[in-house]
Subunit: 212 residues, 2 copies
């Protein structure tokens, strides 16, 4: 994943890195209280105990702050996901379930950040690219899973695995997003994983072998 820590500041010693962390923490706190649009650079600066111009010494915009936050979460999520897949061992249905669950958990734990990112994506090329890279990561994992199941003769052939994976991952992103933000129509938070998994199952295997 890209190194965002250098986004928009000159290299520096220590006390400035602390400031940077303070800004990020302040941003997280503020996002818990209101939407990104309603947070001004001044709010961010005040929250970190500095003036607005000083903020610009550390980040080029509030957007960059959110992207730095997202970068951090994406890396953390990658590790959690890796662990989840290791824990599942060789039980294939469990692999799929844990894969999806780890995505859902990341969404859940960083609900407000996800909301802010969703606000950014349509307006910012950089946000769009970063989000795309994260989605791409899920797609690649899924492609590996599909291909391996096809080789074993368990999964249906027909749709190119990457096309299938792209579709299913976007579906999952939207379903989770709608559930967690309350965007109608949506599925209740406690059912969304089961339904998603069922559709993954049918799309890949043609049946409900991933649980039902």
């Amino acid at each position: 994943m890209s190194d965002v820590s250098g986004r928009g500041r000159r290299s520096r010693r220590v006390s400035g890195d602390d400031r940077e962390r303070l800004i990020l923490a302040s941003a997280e706190q503020l996002l818990a209280t209101r939407s990104l649009t309603d947070i001004s650079v001044d709010d961010l600066a005040k929250g970190a105990g500095i003036s607005r111009p000083t903020f610009y010494f550390y980040f080029p915009s509030k957007e960059a702050v959110v992207l730095a936050l997202l970068d951090r979460v994406a890396e953390e999520a990658r590790l959690i996901r890796e662990q989840a897949l290791l824990d599942a061992g060789t039980d294939v249905p469990e692999l799929w379930r844990r894969g999806l669950l780890s995505i859902l958990e990341t969404f859940r734990q960083h609900r407000v950040l996800m909301l802010a990112v969703a606000q950014l994506v349509p307006d910012s090329d950089e946000a769009q690219k970063l989000w795309g890279r994260i989605i791409e990561g899920f797609v690649n994992d899924s492609v590996l899973g599909i291909d391996s199941e096809r080789e074993r003769g368990r999964a249906l052939p027909g749709v190119p695995s990457r096309d299938l994976a792209i579709s299913l991952v976007w579906m999952t992103e939207r379903m989770f997003h709608a559930s967690l933000t309350g965007q109608e129509p949506n599925l209740p938070e406690d059912q969304v994983l089961e339904v998603a998994l069922r559709i993954w199952s049918r799309a890949i295997y043609g049946d409900d072998s991933l649980g039902g």
Copy 2:
């Protein structure tokens, strides 16, 4: 669908309705050249040959203009969709195909509007609601189709039909959106319909009966 023509203005006779149409037309034209964020109320006003304060006589914000545009397109799309389903007759696979195709065509024909709406949705409750109502319309149609195929014993039972429909419709929205805006990862525009249809088929029937 809701009557948006009264959004934010006092009732009035004729010449003002023309102005309103001029503003809408101006908005459509401007959206073809740059994103909603880069269009100011002043641009909109100038485009319709009026001053900025006069704009506010007709619409409370540029957001309201986009929503009025969307409302119009949604109604038009509903009719096209209805016709498409009539044309399909009783050929069930053709019904599904034409249903999805009419959505794709609407996206295609109003690409720039869809882009503007996507920008609005995360920031505006009203936009979120209207978009939700449009999606809901597709979901309801799909539920009818799924239930009727289940009654005939052709479609797989198991997942509640509304849950299935919500998931598939959101998937389709995201796939089309990614394709038409170039958001990566995506499927090429000329393949996205076939792949979507294949997944609908597997999710509803467990096989590729909708084409392969």
